[in-house]
């Protein structure tokens, strides 16, 4: 356990010490929330302030950005720089290293979620979460599932130069299609069909249900199942394909 704490502390130190990570991974979602809130923050939907929906959407964008994107970028860069290979020859168990990377990213996401909710409450009159425990459970399920996709992506992406671009090409369109930045009701049916298979769509459904309507995740087992299945696919790809040695150097 103490080794876990030792490693987790190091992961946190590395994350917060690195300006790029802190800005692009941590600051960007709350920043985007501030922008969206100041532009679209007026009005109600179904009797709830629109900013409640914006908060829920940004929790979805942040889970893709941080638990998936941040983790994939971090792992690929460390692999290509030889850091993972170097760690592999120490007594640190590989499973412990990877679980610390996972938990560290989830911690960053939890903090990010707290910041977004706090900004919504204080600046934009968003409601408090209708079912806090359900919301926390949904966020945890989402973080672990998207981290699985992050591990899977890290196993498939070869180059440290390309990884940030690849991640953004996935995260931004997915967030847009799934409705993280606003309702998808006016989208053409082809785009809605794409959205129907994306994990973020179901994460957002669950988050909105908990945040606005006060529903528990088990009220929508289908969404939970699809989200978890995506995560499982990610972990499965990682188990089969993840490597510790640089591929391109």
């Amino acid at each position: 356990m103490s080794l876990f704490v030792h490693q987790l502390r190091a992961e946190q130190l590395v994350f917060w010490r690195s300006r790029e990570a802190a800005i692009f991974i941590f600051i960007f979602p709350p920043l985007l929330f501030l922008l969206l809130g100041s532009v679209y923050g007026e009005g109600d939907i179904d009797g709830h302030p629109v900013t409640s929906y914006l908060v829920a959407g940004m929790l979805g964008y942040a889970v893709a950005n941080t638990a998936f994107g941040g983790l994939a970028i971090q792992l690929v860069i460390r692999r290509e720089y030889g850091i993972l290979k170097r760690i592999r020859s120490t007594p640190l168990p590989p499973s412990l290293y990877l679980s610390c990377a996972l938990v560290s990213n989830v911690l960053v996401y939890v903090l990010q979620a707290a910041v977004v909710v706090a900004l919504g409450l204080t600046l934009y009159d968003a409601e408090r979460p209708a079912a806090t425990a359900s919301l926390v459970a949904v966020l945890a399920l989402g973080a672990v599932s998207f981290a699985g996709l992050g591990f899977g992506a890290a196993a498939l992406i070869r180059s440290s130069d390309a990884v940030a671009a690849v991640v953004n090409v996935v995260v931004l369109p997915m967030s847009f299609l799934s409705g993280a930045f606003g309702s998808t009701e006016g989208y053409p049916s082809a785009l809605q069909a794409v959205a129907d298979v994306l994990p973020l769509t179901y994460f957002l459904d669950l988050t909105l249900a908990a945040y606005v309507d006060g529903q528990a995740p088990w009220d929508d087992p289908g969404a939970v199942g699809i989200l978890a299945a995506w995560g499982a696919v990610g972990y499965l790809v990682a188990v089969r394909r993840f490597g510790w040695e640089p591929r391109e150097r």
Partner: protein, 283 residues
């Protein structure tokens, strides 16, 4: 006590390329052993099999009594590794990186002592990204030593160093011997092998061409006497340098000549090495 490393008929192929075609050697405890050879000779493949990174295709390997292919945690607690190429977190300081790695081992050395040992005392609180190439290699060595390993692998530890940095690195590697460490070193620099290694295996094309101490490898060769006569470089190879030299100087004295640039020397390891590996010009 058994050897630190015992390798017998080790084989490894990548696709149709045979990287190692059956090599056999032992490394005694406390010994500094050099794997010397040109690029592509199989040095890194051999070391990475011993470190537990690669699986062998044939032969037997025992490192500190373990099969490195299984690479159990108890094995990794007792080795230190300097890879040919690797980087560390650029935003951490020298001290933070040492502290991080020290935490992985059951009986780490004092981190400030290690930092001083590898000559980074003044860079203790500097971030990794501000270090020069040579300082980064010393950091690699520091974190390889911080777990107080019995056996240290150094894969081309001075490649790309300027002469002063190389000399400093040699001093550090000698201090490993004084600490009682077993060292397996790969290099394509002959002088490095000659300076540091108790024994050397000369590797080419996945085979060991010669194995012995640097003096054994050069002992069987003839002495060479060189001088200039009337401005022309002369050299005589001989098995009897005393007699040949006596005759040469006797003749010169009788004729009242001075032999400019007179020297007698054994072939260096370099001559032997070039004889061994140079013929096909793949060095």
């Amino acid at each position: 006590m058994s050897s630190a490393i015992a390798v017998h008929d080790l084989r490894k192929s990548y696709g149709t390329t045979d990287a190692l075609r059956g090599i056999t050697f032992d490394v005694e405890r406390g010994e500094v052993f050099g794997l010397l050879g040109p690029n592509g000779a199989g040095k890194t493949t051999a070391v990475e099999i011993l470190e537990g990174y690669r699986r062998r295709d044939g032969g037997t390997v025992e490192v500190l009594g373990f099969d490195p292919a299984r690479s159990p945690r108890r094995f990794r607690e007792r080795i230190g590794v300097v890879l040919q190429q690797s980087e560390l977190w650029p935003m951490l300081t020298v001290r933070e990186v040492h502290r991080l790695f020290a935490g992985y081992y059951p009986h780490p050395r004092d981190i400030d002592e290690v930092i001083d040992l590898v000559g980074l005392g003044e860079k203790r609180d500097a971030r990794v990204k501000t270090l020069s190439g040579g300082q980064k290699r010393r950091l690699d060595l520091g974190i390889a030593l911080v777990g107080d390993p019995e056996l240290v692998f150094l894969d081309e530890p001075t490649t790309g160093f300027d002469p002063a940095a190389r000399r400093a690195a040699w001093g550090m590697i000698r201090s490993l011997r004084e600490l009682g460490k077993t060292v397996l070193l790969t290099t394509h620099y002959l002088d490095e092998a000659q300076q540091l290694a108790d024994r050397v295996a000369v590797l080419r094309g996945g085979l060991i061409l010669r194995l012995g101490s640097p003096s054994e490898l050069t002992a069987s060769t003839r002495a060479v006497i060189r001088f200039r006569e009337a401005g022309v470089e002369q050299s005589i190879e001989t098995d009897e340098p005393t007699r040949t030299l006596h005759e040469l100087t006797g003749r010169a004295l009788a004729q009242g000549l001075e032999l400019d640039g007179l020297e007698v020397r054994r072939s260096s390891l370099e001559d032997v090495y070039l004889d061994l590996v140079g013929e096909e010009g793949d060095a």
